[in-house]
Amino acid sequence: MRIRRAYDGALALALAVSVVLFIVPQLFFVRQSFFESLAMGMMGDQLSFANYATILSDGFYIAVFVRTIVLSAIAALVALFIAYPTAYWLARLNSPVLRWLIILLLVSSFVSIVVKVLGLSMLLGSQGPFATFLRFVTLGWWSGSLLHNELAVAIGLVQYSLPLLIMLLFGVVQTIPKSLEDAALVHGASDWSLLRRILLPLSLNGIVTAGLIAFNMNMGAFTSAVLLGGGNVLTVPVVIQRKIVLEVDYPVASALSVLLTTAVIVINLLLVALRRGGPVGAGQGRQAA
């Protein structure tokens, strides 16, 4: 039952991150979300679902939620696609350089998101290398900027979650003995077959956990959405911030954040349920036997 338990532990970790990031600071918001807003942070004294009804019946808010979820999911997937090969490479790197690479990774994950975003906005801006290159190859026909849109926000989300994902998946790959790869290769597996039949099934629990953590982080990401979206990308955290700062409407902001939390938890639980019922993976055989 060892693998099963390790898997449950990993899922519990994902859940714990969600709890800390979303639920704890919001406990008192939950209460607020059931009162009517009387402007300027004042609230009525009648409990009601009016705020939820307002949000859920408004196409604008629904669109904001859909945008946030899709953006978070895509960014998490892209981050996984980049992080897994990197983590694999690091885990199999038999070199003294490895320690320095890990330190570099750790340091980079501690860099403030504002600094990271600033770097990205220089990179993606119209004076940056990508825009300059695109201008050059299109002979000046394209003269825009890669900033201030959903792509820029997604890139920012990927950049922010990448070091963490690489470190998580590094740990996952390290638990797969190198001899399993040798065994697969010597018994006739191609590289693709090795990935599909051995590495991915054995990493799947870790990948799902890491992906969920990235997704959860993305759902709550504010700085990337504001600074790289340049007011063009309204995600749930951005709208919540506007509700609080511009309109000082705590109840609706609270209801939004409760709904955000709920969405995150529901999506996490759905994926976990899907994994348990899924056909592949080291843990599944245990139940079948």
């Binding site: 060892r2 693998i3 003995p177 001899s179 399993l180 040798d182 065994a183 697969a184 290769l185 010597v186 018994h187 006739g188 597996a189 191609s190 077959s193 039949r197 051995i198 099934p201 054995l202 592949v280 993976g281 080291a282 055989g285 245990r286 079948a288 036997a289």
Partner: protein, 361 residues
């Protein structure tokens, strides 16, 4: 089933040579054991044959075909690993069928062959189990079945029994010997355990420091060691050191620290005055009151005796601190008292002398 040839095989990591030019021909169906202490290059050699490591120079031929730079999957070899390396996400049957599926065999073929292999390892009923549910011995048998299922040309075994306890180990050695004989596959087995090597091998290749010290049948190595290393490494032996005082053809006489002169055989280059070590197997020693002409004799003090089932070991002390072991069959009454002095005798035919590195080197 194929022969394997290693020709001037060298592997170095930077300035360090791990394998220093190995030449070896392995016949079809032969069971070869690479034996040696850790770091002797035996595992590196095996991994070069498997294709996990590229040799720095030299050639490897399997069935006459050069395989260097070919990926492992193109070499059609079977391999059993020390940690079994069973795929934990697959059932026993899927593990055994892995190589067949990778070779694009149809479902039916895979199924039939897997059943056949499970019968071979006496695990017909356990095909649906997962590796984690099996004992160490069962896992090892599955690993063997997986390696043999697709009828590879050569079977490689990298210390496959290292993780098992002594009893299970011996059982598995017998089981493995049976299966290997049934299948008749060319096998290269790596171990650091000389008893295991003795029990299994058609031929033992003893490696030390990246070179082959001696290759031969187990009894050849035991009875006629080529080097001091082999004599020390294979089986137990008593070792007496001194200086050569006489040399007549391949017989040398060596004066020991206590003044006794013993005679033994030497196939090495030894001259009068050279430091030398003479080794004698414990079972070649005897104690007796009456000296015989032409027999080596030393005087040693009886320290203790220990019973080991089929015989008795007597430990004696020669000189200041050299322990001498004497092995006699059970029931042979030597009439030895602890603390007493005894005359230990052994024949020159059972004594092998080798040069020692000169002092100061």
């Amino acid at each position: 089933m194929s022969s394997v040839s290693l020709e001037c095989l060298v592997k170095s990591y930077g300035p360090t040579e791990v394998v220093k030019g190995i030449n070896l021909h392995i016949e079809e169906g032969e069971l070869i054991v690479f034996l040696g202490p850790s770091g002797c290059g035996k595992t590196t050699t095996l991994r070069m044959i498997a294709g996990f490591i590229d040799p720095t120079s030299g050639a490897i031929r399997i069935g006459g075909e050069p395989v260097v730079r070919k990926p492992p999957r193109a070499r059609n070899l079977g391999m059993v690993f020390q940690d079994y390396a069973l795929f934990p996400n697959m059932s026993v049957a899927d593990n055994v069928g892995f190589g067949l599926v990778e070779r694009g065999k149809s479902r039916d073929v895979v199924h039939k062959r897997v059943e056949q292999m499970l019968r071979l390892i006496h695990m017909e009923a356990l095909g649906n189990r997962y590796p984690i549910e099996l004992s160490g011995g069962q896992q090892q048998r599955v690993a063997l079945a997986r390696a043999l299922a697709y009828e590879p040309r050569v079977l490689l075994m990298d210390e496959p029994l290292g993780a098992l306890d002594q009893k299970l180990r011996e059982e598995m050695q017998r089981e493995f010997a049976r299966i290997q004989r049934d299948v008749g596959i060319t096998t290269i087995f790596v171990t650091h355990d000389q008893q295991e090597a003795m029990a299994l091998a058609d031929r033992i290749i003893v490696m030390n420091g990246g070179v082959i010290e001696q290759a031969g049948r187990p009894e050849e190595l035991y009875d006629r060691p080529d080097t001091l290393f082999i004599a020390d490494f294979i089986g137990r032996s008593n070792r007496f050191e001194g200086k050569v005082v006489r040399k007549v053809s391949d017989l040398v006489s060596v004066r020991l620290s206590g003044g006794e002169v013993i005679t033994g055989q030497s196939r090495s280059v030894l001259s009068v005055g050279d430091p030398a070590a003479c080794v004698v197997r414990p079972e070649s020693l005897a104690v007796g009151a009456t000296p015989q002409e032409g027999t080596n004799a030393i005087s040693a003090q009886v320290l203790r005796r220990s019973f080991f089932g089929s015989g008795i070991n007597t430990i004696l002390r020669y000189g200041e601190n050299l322990e001498v072991i004497l092995q006699t069959p059970k029931g042979a009454d030597l009439n030895l008292q602890e603390g007493n002095m005894a005359d230990v005798r052994f024949r020159p035919e059972d004594t092998f002398c080798f040069p020692l590195p000169k002092a100061g080197r």
